[in-house]
Symmetry: C2
Subunit: 143 residues, 2 copies
Amino acid sequence: MKLSKRGEYGLRAMIFLAVHAGESALFPIGVIAERENIPERFLEQILLALKNAGLLQSKKGAAGGYSLARPAEKITLGEIERVLDGPLAPIRCVSQMAYQPCDCPDEAACGLRMAMFEVRAAVAGVLDRTSLADVAGQVRAVR
Amino acid sequence: MKLSKRGEYGLRAMIFLAVHAGESALFPIGVIAERENIPERFLEQILLALKNAGLLQSKKGAAGGYSLARPAEKITLGEIERVLDGPLAPIRCVSQMAYQPCDCPDEAACGLRMAMFEVRAAVAGVLDRTSLADVAGQVRAVR
DNA sequence: CATAAAATCTACTGATTTAGTAGAATTTAC
DNA sequence: GTAAATTCTACTAAATCAGTAGATTTTATG
């Protein structure tokens, strides 16, 4: 049930952009990496993936950088996590986005499946209902 | 956020024992493995770990086998999962059982931490509140 | 127009974790 | 005494993870 470094770094970068959106229109990778203690070349890959998924915008060249592709209210943590680490479901046979049958004798009477269905719902409930704006709001409230 | 095969097999075996507890006092590994489609030598290791953690009882020798160490009402899925895959928290800095600081600049104002705290609570909420008896009841209701 | 700062694309690599296998010892019912 | 079972320890192949590296393209600015 662990979050990968890829997921961790990507979420941190997206939250960073949401929190600091007012300060600058665009943030280069190097700035995000330095402020969040993330290896720069690794973050590079991650942001590229998020851009190809339509969650980030970028501008090349000098004075270029990244920004959120949509308003922070319209991007959820669930979307980000799915791009970076795949389906949220702990087991494929309860995945909404990427269902696959498991090898249990009878799926309809599978106790594990019933339990994992609830786990998936609980995780997706949090992640799909929490937007970057929600998180940014919480962060600003603390500082 | 994925469940390992180790966790999957272990949970399946424990649920099997809870569901079929009435039929026999003891089930040998081979029987569980066959009925649940689990590699026998692998399951062997898993059940041993669950026994050493106090969740299973065993009897050696001919006519030996495994059974739950406590009534099914008193064993939760969360306990089992922690034995097999470690802490439930997606990130160590929100783990109740195995906290460790992360390397974000300011833990108190870390948006990722706030969000993952909720995810951990959601997962633990399901797993720590669901007992093997609950699952067994659901399975019996379907058949 | 040259230069520097930035993203982009593709490939590679070392370390760790996962998912098992294997062998030998021990215990117990019959 | 033998067969059926758990127990203990070690090993290994494959996959995944975390990160590096090199070369290219784009763009602002002086």
